[in-house]
């Protein structure tokens, strides 16, 4: 039981990492807690489902187009709307993203109805058997792709000019402006990248989870936990946080009831916030 | 000899490996104007923050009227009669000038409860700092000189026994500086307030202070009257470099003032 739970936890934790990285990025760079992140994931999942249903496109292959669509969508939202309130108080920005979340959820409801959707892949039952452990191929693929995305993101942030500009803007808004960085454009790019990652995560979960318009909420809660545990601004932190969360969830159900788990989870979260807000790995980004 | 009002023993504050203030002993006597100078980064503002409780000490102790105040929260220290201005002014945005200053009257040492009394004290202070006509102006609309005087007014509204001034003259022109120097003297001589001043404007601080302490890299390197301090080789060296100090010493010059024909401001 336990070893299988560990394997499952790690495999699924990689998706959490992908979700957490995008969420943590927006929080760290723009000090916005993007509650709509969950709905971006859902859009990705729905798009992946639609491409599969209409053209038989494998969800793994729909990742690039979905990421592109979400990048453009989020870039536009940030550039023309969110940039006006981005420097506002938490009251304003949090309420705003809540509004965005329910707006998008409603749109998904209209376009795809409230019925749960899911993708049945032809190879979904194939898997490896090692010892007593079962490793489904799909989950392994998800794991690999998620790690790949994390790695690409890490390189993007460290090695490309845009990535460096994002970092600069996050660390010193005024300073970045002074050296000629178009900070509001950077914000738009950041939001776009975050949404693209969310969209990719949506594609990744589409074959293994049922999709419904309100699935975004619980996912954002998890993203929040990962961001806190891993520390804002730390890709490695988000990765570790995601895997850890995946592990805790699967291993936890072996030992404790799910409702009690939630209680424990939130209590730990509050304690971390109070006593170690920089997370287990990160440095304090914003107050 | 006047009683000691404020004193520090072994006062230290580190940020990780950085020693912002290290092992500073000092005494401020009641009724005097005590200046603190030193190159940028010397730890002057940090020292003030340690006195008024904004920052906790890493080591050492600070006493006010023989009572240990290090470790108390800022509001407690304010209630005891110590108030302070900030180098980067910290007004209350969204409130008018009058409201900003009244906070000091309402919550400072005297905790005035009567509205009329608070208003009167506020008005009289605004007169002292020459801001009487600007009562209802939102603080965002004040210019730099007015903002500096607002900082001062807020601190005065608390009727402090000990007033800590952190670079009140930065950004002001020559006439405004003279005016503030005059105000500081009046507050000290006519109202009997003990004042600790941090300044970079040399002519100002040398002109008003009774005694001066010099900080460099967080440590005290000199203390004494303005004349004594400005002749100390260590001080000259800290501001202008060792070679300059040695050359001056060799040439046997005995000038007053920390600068040397290069204007009133100390470099750095």
């Amino acid at each position: 039981m336990l070893p299988q739970a560990i394997v499952n936890g790690l495999l699924f934790g990689s998706v959490y990492a992908t979700i957490g990285i995008g969420f943590s990025l927006v929080w760290g760079v723009m000090n916005i807690i993007n509650v709509a992140h969950g709905s971006f994931i859902m859009i990705g999942a729905y798009l992946s489902y639609t491409l599969f249903a209409l053209y038989g496109l494998d969800p793994f292959l729909s990742i690039p187009p979905v990421m592109a669509v979400l990048f453009l969508l989020a870039y536009a939202i940030q550039k023309y709307v969110l940039n006006r309130v981005v420097r506002g108080s938490v009251f304003i920005t949090l309420t705003f993203t809540f509004g965005l979340q329910i707006l998008i959820a409603n749109l998904c409801l209209l376009l795809w109805s409230a019925d749960s959707r899911s993708i049945k892949l032809p190879y979904s039952s194939a898997g490896w058997q090692i010892g007593g452990l079962v490793i489904p191929l799909v989950r392994l693929g998800i794991f690999g792709v998620a790690l790949l995305l994390t790695g690409l993101f890490y390189l993007f942030m460290r090695r490309t000019r845009t990535g460096v500009a994002i970092n600069a803007t996050a660390l010193n808004f005024e300073g970045a402006k002074t050296v000629g960085i178009d900070v509001y454009n950077i914000y738009a790019i950041t939001f776009g990248v975050s949404a693209a990652l969310a969209g990719a995560a949506g594609c990744l979960i589409s074959p293994i989870m049922s999709i419904n318009p309100f699935g975004g909420g619980p996912l954002v809660a998890k993203a929040f936990v990962i961001a806190i545990l891993g520390g804002l601004g730390s890709t490695v932190g988000a990765l570790v946080g995601g895997l850890a969360l995946g592990l805790v969830e699967t291993v936890g159900t072996v030992f404790i009831s799910s409702s009690f788990q939630e209680l424990l989870g939130f209590t730990v979260l509050v304690l971390v916030l109070v006593f170690r807000p920089q997370g287990l790995m990160g440095k304090r980004f914003y107050e | 000899m006047n009683a000691v009002l404020l004193s520090g023993q072994g006062v230290s504050r580190s940020f990780g490996a950085l020693k912002a203030v290290w092992n500073v002993d000092f005494e401020v006597r009641a009724g005097e104007i005590f200046g603190i100078i030193g190159p940028n980064g010397a730890g002057k503002t940090t020292l003030l923050s340690l006195v008024n409780g904004t920052l906790p000490l890493t080591r050492g102790q600070i006493r006010f009227k023989d009572r240990v105040i290090s470790g108390l929260r800022p509001y407690r220290i304010a209630e005891l009669g110590i108030s302070r201005t900030f180098q980067v002014v910290k007004p209350f945005p969204g409130m008018t000038l009058l409201e900003n200053v009244s906070i000091g009257a309402l919550f400072g040492k005297d905790k005035i409860r009567d509205a009329r009394e608070a208003r009167e004290r506020t008005r009289s202070i605004l007169q002292t700092v020459n801001l009487s006509g600007r009562e209802d102006v939102a603080v965002e609309n004040l210019n730099i000189s007015e903002r500096k005087r607002l900082e001062l007014a807020r601190a005065l509204a608390m009727d402090p026994e000990l007033l800590l001034l952190d670079e009140v003259m930065a950004g002001l022109n020559s006439a405004e500086i003279d005016w503030i120097m005059d105000l500081i003297r009046r507050l000290n001589e006519r109202e009997g307030r003990t004042i600790v001043v941090i300044e970079h404007v040399m002519k100002a601080i040398m002109g008003v202070s009774h005694r001066i302490m010099v900080l460099h890299h967080g440590e005290k390197i000199a203390e004494g009257s303005p004349a004594e301090v400005s002749r100390e080789e260590k001080v000259i060296s800290a501001y202008l470099g060792e070679r300059y100090a040695r050359r001056r010493g060799a040439a046997g010059k005995g000038e007053q003032g920390g600068g040397n024909g290069g204007g009133e401001h100390a470099p750095g």
Partner: protein, 340 residues
């Protein structure tokens, strides 16, 4: 304490308006159908809740996204005391107030040291933790089944009228409290804390004490509203009384009306609930979407609320320190001639 701008002519007109309003409100339950009476009661309830949130969020600047925790605890305290301990409504009501108040002190000591997002989400986490705790104490709270409360006996019209006036009374009380708050020392301390907490401390304000006081005040009103809710609806369950969407609504209400103002939350509640009712009855499918759109539009175009758009009165603290993208006007709204 400090003289307010605005003169006697406003006062006379205002008093007349209030008198007419009071008359209308008093007569309403006898003139309208049960549906409208209940709707108005519901609007009063959200007005109280939003006003209470306004104390800690609008006045003090601490966006307590978990404020429903007090509502839920208030509701459950009353429900448990009335159904299990067979107590009357009045002792249950007081019990709810006590529980809410004590919780606010405990949570305040733990969480009020946090700022901004950390505080907002810390309170949310705490609220969720309490929700799950309550759901797990099945023996006491009925767990997922919820709790039923012994109802008030009487004809429907009488019951409706009772709760209408009870909620209206609570609203009047909280408005009086908040009105005093906008003028007294506590209010000034909170305003200062919100404007610049560090400076407030340096000027002699015991920020911890004042923040906790504000939150306790907010919690008391929120908790007793929960108590009334339990008695009124006669059935409660955890997901409803700890629903975070309620808090989001409350924030939107405060935004629409004007944060840190006295009547803002009431105006906002009336506007939002009216729109909600209209939309709900016609476009069920679009309900959430329209709410979302309203939220977005309000945040973009009216972050200081209606009150600041309409009156000349002193606009209290500026909520959104907005920076526009380069090439546009510099930050903030243009100031009027009187410099407000």
């Amino acid at each position: 304490m400090i003289p307010q701008a605005g003169g006697g002519r406003w006062k006379a007109a205002g008093a007349l308006l209030l008198a007419v309003l009071a008359l209308l409100l008093a007569a309403a339950p006898f003139l309208l159908t049960g549906f409208w009476v209940r709707l108005l009661t519901y609007i009063f309830m959200f007005s109280v809740l939003s006003s209470a949130l306004n104390i800690i969020a609008g006045f003090t600047g601490y966006a307590a996204f978990g404020n429903m925790v007090f509502f839920g605890l208030g509701a459950y305290t009353t429900a448990v005391l009335m159904s299990k301990a067979r107590l009357g409504f009045v002792p249950a009501f007081l019990g709810s107030a006590l529980v809410a108040g004590i919780t606010a002190v405990l949570l305040g000591l733990l969480l009020l040291r946090l700022k901004g997002h950390y505080f907002a989400l810390g309170t949310l986490g705490a609220a969720e933790a309490v929700k799950y705790l309550i759901e797990n104490l099945t023996g006491l709270t009925g767990g997922g089944q919820g709790l039923t409360v012994p109802p008030l006996r009487g004809r429907p019209a009488t019951v409706n009228t009772f709760f209408y006036f009870l909620m209206l009374l609570l609203l009047v009380v909280i408005l009086l409290v908040v009105w005093r708050l906008s003028r007294n020392r506590l209010g000034y301390a909170l305003k200062a804390i919100r404007a610049n907490e560090e400076a407030a401390g340096v000027m002699g304000i015991d920020t911890t004490r004042y923040k906790i006081t504000a939150w306790v005040l907010s919690a008391l009103f929120t908790g007793v509203t929960g108590s009334i809710y339990a008695y009124w609806f006669t059935y409660i369950d955890a997901p409803t009384v700890f629903d975070v969407m309620w808090v989001v609504k409350m924030f939107v209400i405060i935004l629409i009306g004007g944060a840190g103002t006295v009547f803002g939350p009431v105006i906002g509640a009336f506007i939002l609930e009216t729109i909600s009712e209209l939309v709900w009855s016609r476009f069920l499918n679009l309900h959430l979407g329209i709410l979302g759109l309203i939220i977005i539009l309000v945040v973009l175009f009216m972050p200081r609320g209606i009150i600041s758009l309409v009156t000349q009165g002193k606009s209290l603290l500026s909520l959104a320190h907005r920076r526009r993208p380069p090439g546009r006007q510099p930050q903030g709204r243009p100031r009027g001639e009187d410099g407000q």
